[in-house]
Symmetry: C2
Subunit: 245 residues, 2 copies
DNA sequence: GAACTTTAAATGTCTGACATTTTGATGGCA
DNA sequence: TGCCATCAAAATGTCAGACATTTAAAGTTC
Protein backbone atom coordinates (compact mmCIF):
# COMPACT_ATOMS: atom_id res chain seq x y z
CA UNK A 1 0.00 0.00 0.00
CA UNK A 2 0.87 3.58 0.53
CA UNK A 3 2.35 5.09 -2.51
CA UNK A 4 1.56 8.69 -3.08
CA UNK A 5 1.68 10.08 -6.60
CA UNK A 6 2.92 13.63 -6.74
CA UNK A 7 -0.47 15.01 -7.59
CA UNK A 8 -1.18 18.55 -6.68
CA UNK A 9 -3.63 18.55 -3.80
CA UNK A 10 -3.82 18.12 -0.07
CA UNK A 11 -1.20 15.71 1.09
CA UNK A 12 -3.23 14.92 4.18
CA UNK A 13 -6.22 14.04 2.00
CA UNK A 14 -4.11 11.76 -0.16
CA UNK A 15 -2.62 10.02 2.83
CA UNK A 16 -6.01 9.61 4.43
CA UNK A 17 -7.31 8.11 1.22
CA UNK A 18 -4.40 5.68 0.97
CA UNK A 19 -4.97 4.42 4.49
CA UNK A 20 -8.73 4.35 4.07
CA UNK A 21 -8.36 2.26 0.93
CA UNK A 22 -6.08 -0.11 2.77
CA UNK A 23 -8.72 -0.56 5.44
CA UNK A 24 -11.57 -1.00 2.99
CA UNK A 25 -9.64 -3.47 0.87
CA UNK A 26 -8.78 -5.49 3.95
CA UNK A 27 -5.03 -4.86 3.85
CA UNK A 28 -5.44 -3.47 7.33
CA UNK A 29 -7.67 -5.51 9.55
CA UNK A 30 -9.62 -4.65 12.64
CA UNK A 31 -7.52 -3.80 15.69
CA UNK A 32 -4.35 -3.80 13.65
CA UNK A 33 -1.97 -1.05 14.67
CA UNK A 34 -0.88 1.46 12.10
CA UNK A 35 2.73 2.59 12.03
CA UNK A 36 3.45 5.44 14.42
CA UNK A 37 3.00 8.99 13.24
CA UNK A 38 6.74 9.41 12.87
CA UNK A 39 7.04 6.24 10.79
CA UNK A 40 4.14 7.24 8.57
CA UNK A 41 5.73 10.64 8.12
CA UNK A 42 8.87 8.87 6.95
CA UNK A 43 7.05 6.49 4.64
CA UNK A 44 5.03 9.19 2.93
CA UNK A 45 7.90 11.64 3.12
CA UNK A 46 5.88 14.35 4.81
CA UNK A 47 5.97 15.99 8.21
CA UNK A 48 4.29 14.71 11.30
CA UNK A 49 1.59 17.43 11.44
CA UNK A 50 0.53 16.43 7.94
CA UNK A 51 0.25 12.80 8.98
CA UNK A 52 -1.71 13.87 12.01
CA UNK A 53 -4.21 15.77 9.89
CA UNK A 54 -4.71 12.65 7.81
CA UNK A 55 -5.25 10.54 10.91
CA UNK A 56 -7.76 13.02 12.27
CA UNK A 57 -9.71 12.71 9.06
CA UNK A 58 -9.89 8.97 9.54
CA UNK A 59 -10.79 9.36 13.19
CA UNK A 60 -13.68 11.62 12.17
CA UNK A 61 -15.05 8.73 10.14
CA UNK A 62 -14.62 6.32 13.02
CA UNK A 63 -12.17 4.31 10.95
CA UNK A 64 -9.41 4.45 13.53
CA UNK A 65 -9.02 5.07 17.22
CA UNK A 66 -5.91 6.43 18.83
CA UNK A 67 -4.41 5.52 22.12
CA UNK A 68 -1.67 7.32 23.96
CA UNK A 69 1.17 5.83 25.85
CA UNK A 70 3.94 3.35 25.28
CA UNK A 71 1.97 0.71 23.39
CA UNK A 72 -0.30 3.35 21.93
CA UNK A 73 -0.85 4.40 18.37
CA UNK A 74 -3.60 4.38 15.81
CA UNK A 75 -5.65 1.22 15.49
CA UNK A 76 -8.14 0.16 12.89
CA UNK A 77 -11.45 0.40 14.57
CA UNK A 78 -14.35 -1.98 14.37
CA UNK A 79 -17.24 0.14 13.23
CA UNK A 80 -20.03 -0.57 15.70
CA UNK A 81 -23.67 -0.41 14.79
CA UNK A 82 -24.30 2.23 17.43
CA UNK A 83 -21.66 4.56 16.09
CA UNK A 84 -22.76 3.92 12.55
CA UNK A 85 -26.34 4.73 13.59
CA UNK A 86 -25.36 8.01 15.15
CA UNK A 87 -23.23 8.97 12.17
CA UNK A 88 -25.91 8.01 9.72
CA UNK A 89 -28.57 9.96 11.56
CA UNK A 90 -26.44 13.08 11.72
CA UNK A 91 -25.65 12.93 8.03
CA UNK A 92 -29.22 12.18 7.04
CA UNK A 93 -30.53 15.03 9.14
CA UNK A 94 -28.09 17.47 7.61
CA UNK A 95 -28.83 16.19 4.14
CA UNK A 96 -32.52 16.87 4.64
CA UNK A 97 -32.10 20.28 6.19
CA UNK A 98 -29.43 21.56 3.82
CA UNK A 99 -31.25 20.45 0.74
CA UNK A 100 -34.61 21.65 1.97
CA UNK A 101 -36.25 18.29 1.44
CA UNK A 102 -39.98 18.73 1.68
CA UNK A 103 -42.02 16.98 4.28
CA UNK A 104 -43.86 14.86 1.77
CA UNK A 105 -40.74 13.37 0.22
CA UNK A 106 -39.17 12.51 3.55
CA UNK A 107 -42.42 11.17 4.92
CA UNK A 108 -43.04 9.00 1.90
CA UNK A 109 -39.56 7.51 2.12
CA UNK A 110 -39.86 6.87 5.80
CA UNK A 111 -43.14 5.05 5.70
CA UNK A 112 -42.32 3.11 2.56
CA UNK A 113 -39.25 1.72 4.30
CA UNK A 114 -41.07 1.14 7.53
CA UNK A 115 -43.77 -0.84 5.83
CA UNK A 116 -41.03 -3.04 4.43
CA UNK A 117 -40.02 -3.92 7.98
CA UNK A 118 -43.48 -4.60 9.33
CA UNK A 119 -43.92 -8.14 7.98
CA UNK A 120 -40.54 -9.19 9.35
CA UNK A 121 -41.31 -7.52 12.65
CA UNK A 122 -44.64 -9.30 12.87
CA UNK A 123 -42.82 -12.55 12.43
CA UNK A 124 -39.94 -12.03 14.84
CA UNK A 125 -40.82 -9.40 17.43
CA UNK A 126 -40.00 -10.36 21.00
CA UNK A 127 -41.99 -9.49 24.11
CA UNK A 128 -39.39 -6.77 24.71
CA UNK A 129 -40.22 -5.02 21.48
CA UNK A 130 -43.92 -5.22 22.23
CA UNK A 131 -43.37 -3.88 25.72
CA UNK A 132 -41.44 -0.91 24.35
CA UNK A 133 -44.16 -0.17 21.84
CA UNK A 134 -46.87 -0.36 24.48
CA UNK A 135 -44.90 1.84 26.85
CA UNK A 136 -44.43 4.50 24.20
CA UNK A 137 -48.11 4.37 23.30
CA UNK A 138 -48.94 4.92 26.96
CA UNK A 139 -46.53 7.83 27.10
CA UNK A 140 -48.11 9.37 24.03
CA UNK A 141 -51.47 9.39 25.78
CA UNK A 142 -50.25 11.30 28.82
CA UNK A 143 -51.86 14.71 29.17
CA UNK A 144 -49.58 17.73 29.11
CA UNK A 145 -46.97 16.08 26.96
CA UNK A 146 -45.10 18.61 24.84
CA UNK A 147 -45.12 18.29 21.08
CA UNK A 148 -41.42 17.60 21.15
CA UNK A 149 -41.75 14.80 23.68
CA UNK A 150 -44.58 13.39 21.64
CA UNK A 151 -42.27 13.29 18.62
CA UNK A 152 -39.53 11.66 20.66
CA UNK A 153 -41.91 8.99 21.76
CA UNK A 154 -43.15 8.55 18.22
CA UNK A 155 -39.61 7.91 17.04
CA UNK A 156 -39.01 5.45 19.88
CA UNK A 157 -42.19 3.59 18.98
CA UNK A 158 -41.21 3.24 15.36
CA UNK A 159 -37.69 2.35 16.32
CA UNK A 160 -39.04 -0.56 18.34
CA UNK A 161 -41.20 -1.60 15.42
CA UNK A 162 -38.20 -1.65 13.10
CA UNK A 163 -35.95 -3.35 15.63
CA UNK A 164 -38.56 -6.06 15.92
CA UNK A 165 -37.44 -7.33 12.54
CA UNK A 166 -34.21 -8.35 14.30
CA UNK A 167 -32.15 -7.40 11.32
CA UNK A 168 -29.40 -4.95 12.31
CA UNK A 169 -28.79 -3.93 8.71
CA UNK A 170 -32.42 -3.01 8.35
CA UNK A 171 -32.39 -1.12 11.63
CA UNK A 172 -29.31 0.76 10.54
CA UNK A 173 -30.73 1.85 7.21
CA UNK A 174 -34.06 2.77 8.76
CA UNK A 175 -32.53 4.87 11.48
CA UNK A 176 -31.53 7.46 8.92
CA UNK A 177 -34.99 7.65 7.43
CA UNK A 178 -36.94 7.68 10.69
CA UNK A 179 -34.83 9.84 12.96
CA UNK A 180 -33.75 12.33 10.35
CA UNK A 181 -37.40 13.27 9.95
CA UNK A 182 -37.66 14.47 13.50
CA UNK A 183 -36.82 18.12 12.79
CA UNK A 184 -39.54 18.12 10.16
CA UNK A 185 -42.00 16.46 12.51
CA UNK A 186 -41.19 19.03 15.15
CA UNK A 187 -42.73 21.72 13.00
CA UNK A 188 -46.08 20.10 13.48
CA UNK A 189 -48.47 21.08 16.23
CA UNK A 190 -50.23 17.98 17.49
CA UNK A 191 -53.72 18.78 18.69
CA UNK A 192 -55.36 16.44 21.15
CA UNK A 193 -57.50 15.12 18.33
CA UNK A 194 -54.44 14.41 16.18
CA UNK A 195 -52.81 12.62 19.04
CA UNK A 196 -55.85 10.46 19.66
CA UNK A 197 -55.85 9.37 16.03
CA UNK A 198 -52.13 8.60 16.06
CA UNK A 199 -52.30 6.72 19.33
CA UNK A 200 -55.20 4.68 18.00
CA UNK A 201 -53.19 3.78 14.89
CA UNK A 202 -50.14 2.95 16.98
CA UNK A 203 -52.30 0.67 19.07
CA UNK A 204 -53.61 -1.05 15.96
CA UNK A 205 -50.04 -1.53 14.75
CA UNK A 206 -48.90 -2.94 18.07
CA UNK A 207 -51.92 -5.24 18.20
CA UNK A 208 -51.21 -6.46 14.68
CA UNK A 209 -47.54 -7.05 15.42
CA UNK A 210 -48.45 -8.90 18.59
CA UNK A 211 -50.93 -11.05 16.66
CA UNK A 212 -48.29 -11.61 13.97
CA UNK A 213 -50.75 -10.18 11.49
CA UNK A 214 -48.62 -8.53 8.82
CA UNK A 215 -51.54 -7.48 6.67
CA UNK A 216 -53.25 -5.55 9.45
CA UNK A 217 -50.00 -3.89 10.42
CA UNK A 218 -49.51 -2.80 6.84
CA UNK A 219 -53.01 -1.43 6.65
CA UNK A 220 -52.58 0.57 9.83
CA UNK A 221 -49.21 1.87 8.65
CA UNK A 222 -50.82 2.90 5.40
CA UNK A 223 -53.42 4.90 7.29
CA UNK A 224 -50.74 6.41 9.49
CA UNK A 225 -48.87 7.49 6.37
CA UNK A 226 -51.91 9.28 5.01
CA UNK A 227 -52.59 10.84 8.38
CA UNK A 228 -49.04 12.08 8.80
CA UNK A 229 -48.95 13.51 5.28
CA UNK A 230 -52.15 15.40 6.02
CA UNK A 231 -50.70 16.78 9.23
CA UNK A 232 -47.69 17.96 7.26
CA UNK A 233 -49.87 19.69 4.70
CA UNK A 234 -51.87 21.37 7.46
CA UNK A 235 -48.69 22.56 9.15
CA UNK A 236 -47.42 24.01 5.88
CA UNK A 237 -50.73 25.73 5.25
CA UNK A 238 -50.77 27.19 8.75
CA UNK A 239 -47.24 28.42 8.32
CA UNK A 240 -48.06 30.01 4.98
CA UNK A 241 -51.12 31.67 6.52
CA UNK A 242 -49.03 33.15 9.32
CA UNK A 243 -46.45 34.42 6.83
CA UNK A 244 -48.95 36.32 4.68
CA UNK A 245 -52.10 37.10 6.68
CA UNK B 1 -21.20 29.43 20.13
CA UNK B 2 -17.80 28.04 20.72
CA UNK B 3 -17.02 27.73 24.33
CA UNK B 4 -14.82 24.88 25.30
CA UNK B 5 -15.03 23.45 28.81
CA UNK B 6 -11.76 22.25 30.24
CA UNK B 7 -12.63 18.63 29.83
CA UNK B 8 -9.86 16.15 29.45
CA UNK B 9 -9.85 14.92 25.87
CA UNK B 10 -8.71 15.88 22.42
CA UNK B 11 -8.95 19.59 21.95
CA UNK B 12 -9.30 19.12 18.22
CA UNK B 13 -12.25 16.78 18.76
CA UNK B 14 -13.92 19.29 21.06
CA UNK B 15 -13.43 22.12 18.61
CA UNK B 16 -14.72 20.01 15.74
CA UNK B 17 -17.78 19.16 17.80
CA UNK B 18 -18.43 22.80 18.65
CA UNK B 19 -18.30 23.83 15.01
CA UNK B 20 -20.29 20.79 13.90
CA UNK B 21 -23.01 21.61 16.42
CA UNK B 22 -23.09 25.17 15.15
CA UNK B 23 -23.64 23.89 11.63
CA UNK B 24 -26.29 21.38 12.63
CA UNK B 25 -28.17 23.88 14.74
CA UNK B 26 -28.15 26.34 11.91
CA UNK B 27 -25.93 28.95 13.57
CA UNK B 28 -23.65 28.56 10.59
CA UNK B 29 -25.45 28.42 7.29
CA UNK B 30 -24.45 27.01 3.93
CA UNK B 31 -21.60 28.86 2.22
CA UNK B 32 -20.91 30.94 5.28
CA UNK B 33 -17.23 31.49 5.90
CA UNK B 34 -15.73 30.37 9.16
CA UNK B 35 -13.17 32.59 10.89
CA UNK B 36 -9.62 32.03 9.65
CA UNK B 37 -7.50 29.39 11.31
CA UNK B 38 -5.58 32.04 13.21
CA UNK B 39 -8.78 33.63 14.51
CA UNK B 40 -10.22 30.30 15.55
CA UNK B 41 -6.97 29.51 17.33
CA UNK B 42 -7.36 32.76 19.22
CA UNK B 43 -11.01 32.17 20.05
CA UNK B 44 -10.48 28.67 21.36
CA UNK B 45 -7.13 29.59 22.88
CA UNK B 46 -5.25 26.80 21.14
CA UNK B 47 -2.57 26.67 18.49
CA UNK B 48 -3.14 26.70 14.77
CA UNK B 49 -2.23 23.04 14.19
CA UNK B 50 -4.89 22.03 16.69
CA UNK B 51 -7.48 24.11 14.87
CA UNK B 52 -6.34 22.59 11.60
CA UNK B 53 -6.84 19.08 12.93
CA UNK B 54 -10.36 20.03 13.91
CA UNK B 55 -11.05 21.46 10.47
CA UNK B 56 -9.73 18.34 8.80
CA UNK B 57 -12.15 16.30 10.84
CA UNK B 58 -15.01 18.39 9.54
CA UNK B 59 -13.67 18.22 6.00
CA UNK B 60 -13.63 14.43 6.27
CA UNK B 61 -17.36 14.56 6.92
CA UNK B 62 -17.95 16.89 3.98
CA UNK B 63 -19.22 19.53 6.37
CA UNK B 64 -16.80 22.20 5.18
CA UNK B 65 -14.67 22.93 2.18
CA UNK B 66 -11.49 24.97 2.25
CA UNK B 67 -10.19 27.39 -0.29
CA UNK B 68 -6.77 28.89 -0.47
CA UNK B 69 -5.82 32.40 -1.34
CA UNK B 70 -6.69 35.89 -0.21
CA UNK B 71 -10.46 35.46 0.14
CA UNK B 72 -10.05 31.83 1.04
CA UNK B 73 -10.91 30.02 4.21
CA UNK B 74 -13.23 27.32 5.41
CA UNK B 75 -16.82 27.44 4.22
CA UNK B 76 -19.85 25.51 5.34
CA UNK B 77 -20.57 23.07 2.59
CA UNK B 78 -23.89 22.03 1.18
CA UNK B 79 -23.99 18.28 1.56
CA UNK B 80 -24.89 16.96 -1.87
CA UNK B 81 -26.78 13.77 -2.44
CA UNK B 82 -23.94 12.33 -4.49
CA UNK B 83 -21.39 12.84 -1.75
CA UNK B 84 -23.79 11.57 0.85
CA UNK B 85 -24.38 8.48 -1.31
CA UNK B 86 -20.70 7.76 -1.62
CA UNK B 87 -20.14 8.26 2.08
CA UNK B 88 -23.09 6.15 3.02
CA UNK B 89 -22.01 3.31 0.75
CA UNK B 90 -18.48 3.30 2.11
CA UNK B 91 -19.71 3.22 5.67
CA UNK B 92 -22.32 0.56 5.00
CA UNK B 93 -19.81 -1.63 3.21
CA UNK B 94 -17.36 -1.37 6.07
CA UNK B 95 -20.07 -2.00 8.63
CA UNK B 96 -21.02 -5.21 6.87
CA UNK B 97 -17.49 -6.48 6.38
CA UNK B 98 -16.17 -5.56 9.81
CA UNK B 99 -19.11 -7.05 11.64
CA UNK B 100 -19.18 -10.17 9.51
CA UNK B 101 -22.80 -9.70 8.58
CA UNK B 102 -24.03 -12.88 7.01
CA UNK B 103 -25.33 -12.97 3.50
CA UNK B 104 -28.84 -13.81 4.57
CA UNK B 105 -29.24 -10.80 6.85
CA UNK B 106 -27.91 -8.36 4.29
CA UNK B 107 -29.91 -9.92 1.51
CA UNK B 108 -33.11 -9.85 3.50
CA UNK B 109 -32.64 -6.19 4.34
CA UNK B 110 -31.83 -5.28 0.80
CA UNK B 111 -34.83 -6.90 -0.79
CA UNK B 112 -37.23 -5.84 1.90
CA UNK B 113 -36.29 -2.22 1.26
CA UNK B 114 -36.30 -2.65 -2.47
CA UNK B 115 -39.78 -4.07 -2.43
CA UNK B 116 -40.84 -0.96 -0.57
CA UNK B 117 -39.69 1.11 -3.54
CA UNK B 118 -41.25 -0.98 -6.26
CA UNK B 119 -44.82 0.36 -6.00
CA UNK B 120 -43.59 3.94 -6.13
CA UNK B 121 -41.29 3.11 -9.00
CA UNK B 122 -44.14 1.49 -10.91
CA UNK B 123 -46.09 4.67 -10.50
CA UNK B 124 -43.44 7.19 -11.41
CA UNK B 125 -40.70 5.59 -13.50
CA UNK B 126 -39.69 7.56 -16.57
CA UNK B 127 -38.64 6.14 -19.95
CA UNK B 128 -35.08 6.83 -18.87
CA UNK B 129 -35.33 4.48 -15.91
CA UNK B 130 -36.87 1.80 -18.08
CA UNK B 131 -34.16 2.23 -20.70
CA UNK B 132 -31.45 1.82 -18.07
CA UNK B 133 -33.09 -1.31 -16.73
CA UNK B 134 -33.42 -2.80 -20.22
CA UNK B 135 -29.84 -1.93 -21.05
CA UNK B 136 -28.54 -3.62 -17.92
CA UNK B 137 -30.67 -6.70 -18.60
CA UNK B 138 -29.15 -6.87 -22.06
CA UNK B 139 -25.67 -6.54 -20.62
CA UNK B 140 -26.36 -9.32 -18.16
CA UNK B 141 -27.18 -11.65 -21.03
CA UNK B 142 -23.90 -11.08 -22.84
CA UNK B 143 -21.77 -14.21 -23.04
CA UNK B 144 -18.35 -14.10 -21.44
CA UNK B 145 -19.33 -11.52 -18.84
CA UNK B 146 -17.29 -11.90 -15.67
CA UNK B 147 -19.03 -12.54 -12.39
CA UNK B 148 -17.89 -9.18 -11.13
CA UNK B 149 -19.28 -7.34 -14.14
CA UNK B 150 -22.50 -9.27 -13.76
CA UNK B 151 -22.73 -8.01 -10.17
CA UNK B 152 -21.99 -4.45 -11.27
CA UNK B 153 -24.78 -4.63 -13.78
CA UNK B 154 -27.08 -6.15 -11.20
CA UNK B 155 -26.45 -3.21 -8.90
CA UNK B 156 -27.03 -0.76 -11.75
CA UNK B 157 -30.32 -2.44 -12.59
CA UNK B 158 -31.57 -2.25 -9.05
CA UNK B 159 -30.33 1.28 -8.72
CA UNK B 160 -32.46 2.26 -11.70
CA UNK B 161 -35.42 0.48 -10.15
CA UNK B 162 -35.03 2.41 -6.92
CA UNK B 163 -34.36 5.72 -8.65
CA UNK B 164 -37.60 5.19 -10.55
CA UNK B 165 -39.44 6.08 -7.36
CA UNK B 166 -38.12 9.60 -7.87
CA UNK B 167 -37.58 10.10 -4.21
CA UNK B 168 -33.99 11.14 -3.48
CA UNK B 169 -34.32 10.29 0.21
CA UNK B 170 -35.37 6.78 -0.70
CA UNK B 171 -32.55 6.44 -3.21
CA UNK B 172 -30.08 7.63 -0.62
CA UNK B 173 -31.16 5.18 2.04
CA UNK B 174 -31.34 2.32 -0.44
CA UNK B 175 -27.89 2.95 -1.83
CA UNK B 176 -26.39 1.76 1.42
CA UNK B 177 -28.37 -1.45 1.42
CA UNK B 178 -27.95 -2.33 -2.24
CA UNK B 179 -24.37 -1.34 -2.98
CA UNK B 180 -22.93 -2.44 0.32
CA UNK B 181 -23.99 -5.98 -0.54
CA UNK B 182 -21.74 -6.09 -3.55
CA UNK B 183 -18.73 -7.60 -1.80
CA UNK B 184 -20.99 -10.35 -0.51
CA UNK B 185 -22.50 -10.89 -3.94
CA UNK B 186 -19.04 -11.10 -5.42
CA UNK B 187 -18.41 -14.29 -3.49
CA UNK B 188 -21.03 -15.99 -5.61
CA UNK B 189 -20.23 -17.84 -8.79
CA UNK B 190 -23.02 -17.24 -11.27
CA UNK B 191 -23.48 -20.23 -13.54
CA UNK B 192 -25.13 -19.71 -16.88
CA UNK B 193 -28.25 -21.30 -15.50
CA UNK B 194 -28.30 -18.90 -12.53
CA UNK B 195 -27.86 -15.98 -14.84
CA UNK B 196 -30.72 -17.07 -17.04
CA UNK B 197 -33.02 -17.26 -14.07
CA UNK B 198 -31.95 -13.85 -12.79
CA UNK B 199 -32.24 -12.21 -16.18
CA UNK B 200 -35.71 -13.68 -16.59
CA UNK B 201 -36.75 -12.24 -13.24
CA UNK B 202 -35.21 -8.89 -14.07
CA UNK B 203 -37.18 -8.89 -17.29
CA UNK B 204 -40.37 -9.66 -15.39
CA UNK B 205 -39.62 -6.79 -13.02
CA UNK B 206 -38.93 -4.37 -15.84
CA UNK B 207 -42.09 -5.46 -17.63
CA UNK B 208 -44.13 -4.98 -14.49
CA UNK B 209 -42.66 -1.55 -13.83
CA UNK B 210 -43.30 -0.55 -17.42
CA UNK B 211 -46.90 -1.75 -17.13
CA UNK B 212 -47.21 0.09 -13.82
CA UNK B 213 -48.14 -3.19 -12.26
CA UNK B 214 -46.91 -3.00 -8.69
CA UNK B 215 -48.26 -6.40 -7.68
CA UNK B 216 -46.38 -8.25 -10.43
CA UNK B 217 -43.20 -6.36 -9.64
CA UNK B 218 -43.52 -7.35 -6.02
CA UNK B 219 -44.09 -10.98 -6.93
CA UNK B 220 -41.02 -11.04 -9.16
CA UNK B 221 -38.94 -9.35 -6.49
CA UNK B 222 -40.13 -11.91 -4.00
CA UNK B 223 -38.95 -14.71 -6.28
CA UNK B 224 -35.67 -12.92 -6.86
CA UNK B 225 -35.19 -12.70 -3.10
CA UNK B 226 -35.67 -16.44 -2.71
CA UNK B 227 -33.40 -17.12 -5.64
CA UNK B 228 -30.62 -14.87 -4.33
CA UNK B 229 -30.85 -16.35 -0.85
CA UNK B 230 -30.48 -19.82 -2.35
CA UNK B 231 -27.44 -18.73 -4.33
CA UNK B 232 -25.95 -17.41 -1.14
CA UNK B 233 -26.56 -20.67 0.68
CA UNK B 234 -25.00 -22.60 -2.19
CA UNK B 235 -21.96 -20.36 -2.19
CA UNK B 236 -21.53 -20.83 1.55
CA UNK B 237 -21.87 -24.58 1.21
CA UNK B 238 -19.33 -24.67 -1.60
CA UNK B 239 -16.95 -22.61 0.42
CA UNK B 240 -17.35 -24.85 3.44
CA UNK B 241 -16.76 -27.91 1.26
CA UNK B 242 -13.55 -26.43 -0.10
CA UNK B 243 -12.36 -25.57 3.39
CA UNK B 244 -12.80 -29.08 4.81
CA UNK B 245 -12.83 -31.60 1.98
C1' DG C 1 7.81 -12.25 45.01
C1' DA C 2 5.49 -7.85 45.46
C1' DA C 3 5.53 -3.00 45.32
C1' DC C 4 7.70 0.92 43.77
C1' DT C 5 10.53 3.64 40.45
C1' DT C 6 12.41 4.56 36.21
C1' DT C 7 12.42 4.69 31.39
C1' DA C 8 10.97 4.72 26.79
C1' DA C 9 7.59 5.14 23.26
C1' DA C 10 3.83 7.07 21.64
C1' DT C 11 0.29 10.70 21.02
C1' DG C 12 -1.10 15.64 22.18
C1' DT C 13 0.22 20.36 21.80
C1' DC C 14 2.85 24.61 20.93
C1' DT C 15 5.88 27.99 18.47
C1' DG C 16 7.63 29.86 14.56
C1' DA C 17 8.71 29.79 10.08
C1' DC C 18 8.31 29.28 5.06
C1' DA C 19 5.69 27.90 0.64
C1' DT C 20 1.80 28.45 -2.25
C1' DT C 21 -2.31 30.26 -4.00
C1' DT C 22 -5.45 33.74 -4.90
C1' DT C 23 -7.37 38.34 -4.78
C1' DG C 24 -7.17 43.07 -5.11
C1' DA C 25 -4.76 47.29 -5.37
C1' DT C 26 -1.28 49.96 -7.33
C1' DG C 27 0.94 52.08 -10.90
C1' DG C 28 2.65 52.60 -15.55
C1' DC C 29 1.63 52.87 -20.40
C1' DA C 30 -1.08 53.41 -24.64
C1' DT D 1 -9.59 56.97 -19.64
C1' DG D 2 -8.79 52.22 -19.87
C1' DC D 3 -6.00 48.15 -19.79
C1' DC D 4 -2.33 45.32 -18.36
C1' DA D 5 1.54 44.00 -15.49
C1' DT D 6 3.36 43.96 -11.05
C1' DC D 7 3.26 43.54 -6.28
C1' DA D 8 1.44 43.25 -1.62
C1' DA D 9 -1.58 40.96 1.53
C1' DA D 10 -4.25 37.26 3.35
C1' DA D 11 -5.25 32.86 3.73
C1' DT D 12 -4.33 27.87 3.68
C1' DG D 13 -0.66 24.15 3.14
C1' DT D 14 3.60 22.40 4.93
C1' DC D 15 7.63 21.82 7.66
C1' DA D 16 11.01 21.46 11.69
C1' DG D 17 11.77 21.06 16.29
C1' DA D 18 10.49 21.15 20.86
C1' DC D 19 7.98 20.10 25.13
C1' DA D 20 3.96 17.89 27.77
C1' DT D 21 1.38 13.94 28.91
C1' DT D 22 0.09 9.33 29.13
C1' DT D 23 0.90 4.57 29.43
C1' DA D 24 3.03 0.10 29.76
C1' DA D 25 6.94 -2.42 30.45
C1' DA D 26 11.49 -2.98 32.33
C1' DG D 27 14.24 -2.43 36.25
C1' DT D 28 15.04 -1.96 41.31
C1' DT D 29 14.45 -2.41 46.03
C1' DC D 30 12.72 -4.54 50.10
Amino acid sequence: MKIDPKSRSDLSAQIAKAIRDAIISGDLIVDERLPSEAELADQFDVSRPTVREALKRLAAQNLIRTQRGATGGAFVRRLSYDEAYAHHITTSTLLLSMNAVDFQTACEARFALERACAPLSAERRTPDHLATMRAEIHRQGQPGLSDESFCDSDVAFHRALVDGASNPVLSYQLAGAVEAMQPLMNMITFTQRNRDVIVALHTRIADAIEARDAASADAALSELTACTLQLGRDAMAARAARASP
